[in-house]
Assembly symmetry: C2
């Protein structure tokens, strides 16, 4: 493998007017959109909604199936740096938790909420040092009530980290857990990854939960 | 940034039957799908076609705007390794060239075809060592005739490397350059990235050019 001795210029950037907004979405299989069709889960829908408002957005989906906060903490920076470098306005979104709070067959939880919080704090320090405004989307509910209870607790822990770090946080678990549309979308698949109707709801929940304010630069308001 | 001390298990893998096929698509802005809507360019369409045949596919789009073969050679392995590790059938697709063959304002070409060929040979050695069958999709034509002529020459050089390495190669430049649909799709955008109709044609060209044989394990047949 050859080392990069130059950074490639963006030779072929499109001619759309306005600042070149680049956003990396880093997370797990829910970020990746598993269970939905090729529209790209909530990320694809949110990006489409953003482009429909006339913003010039280049979005990168860096969701990896099975990733915990630990795996994301290990990879996010180098993957994002390569993709954000050329943009005028560089943003980063994180979303994880469903794997952290999973319990394996031996009864062991993958990561306790305190560990997830430590990883998120490290991630947000890195984003702040890089100068990339960060937004965190909390984990949604799943079909299993015990797993959902752990996710509700984790969501609160992640929100606290975001508040301390001055990053935006969009909790989604209460909005989706109370929605018949969400529960039906989970039941139509594997109980964790919704079909398209669930991703539609998730995109709307994030859009209504502080997305536009964060894009406009008033990001931390969403954490209150 | 925290080091990964464990590889996360894929806790939440879907229940679709069949081997878990994982494919990374590594390349430039044409892989990323710039110019098209949120369907995800030719990659998104090709993956949808593959899923429609009943295959259980997890696809990762690792297209980065502005990337040359040099930038791809520097990043592809670590990004792919994280995403392919958990799969039963691990595949990798590369597509680049339009930036390599671009000429900057000072008249300098970003990379001569011989350099692109050296980078591709290194990439394919790495994929072979990792045990990941590789398929390379050649660069399509662009609106500028001089750039297109350089891409045609580059396509032949890349095909030669693939033949020597035993990797599959799908040339697309002749099929799309002769298509009114492709040229209209380029003209409707920036002359390099087509609108959706162009990505539709590109997906069909790759599908007809050896995709199914390669997926079935008879990959190098496509290089002839």
């Amino acid at each position: 493998v050859v080392s990069p001795d130059v950074v490639s210029p963006d030779v072929v950037s499109p001619d759309t007017p306005g600042p070149d907004l680049r956003i990396c979405f880093v997370g797990d299989s829910l970020v990746h959109g598993d269970g939905g069709t090729s529209v790209g889960g909530w990320v694809g829908r949110l990006v489409a909604m953003t482009q429909e408002r006339g913003l010039r957005v280049t979005a990168y989906n860096l969701g990896v199936c099975g990733d915990t906060s630990r795996a994301i903490a290990a990879r996010w920076y180098e993957e994002a740096e390569r993709r954000l470098a050329a943009g005028d306005d560089q943003r980063i979104v994180f979303s994880f938790g469903v794997n952290d709070a999973a319990v394996l067959a031996d009864g062991q939880r993958l990561l306790p909420a305190e560990r997830s919080a430590v990883y998120l704090a490290a991630i947000l320090r890195g984003a702040s040092e890089a100068g990339w405004p960060a937004l965190v989307v909390g984990p949604p509910s799943v079909a299993d009530p015990a797993h959902t209870a752990r996710l509700a607790e984790l969501s609160q822990a992640l929100q606290k980290v975001c508040t301390q770090a001055g990053a935006a946080y969009v909790p989604v678990i209460e909005a989706v857990a109370g929605s018949a549309q969400w529960r039906a979308a989970l039941d139509a698949n594997d109980g964790v990854h919704p079909v398209d109707a669930g991703y539609e709801l998730l995109a709307e929940t994030v859009a209504a939960g502080g997305w536009w304010d964060w894009l406009a630069g008033r990001g931390t308001a969403a954490a209150t």
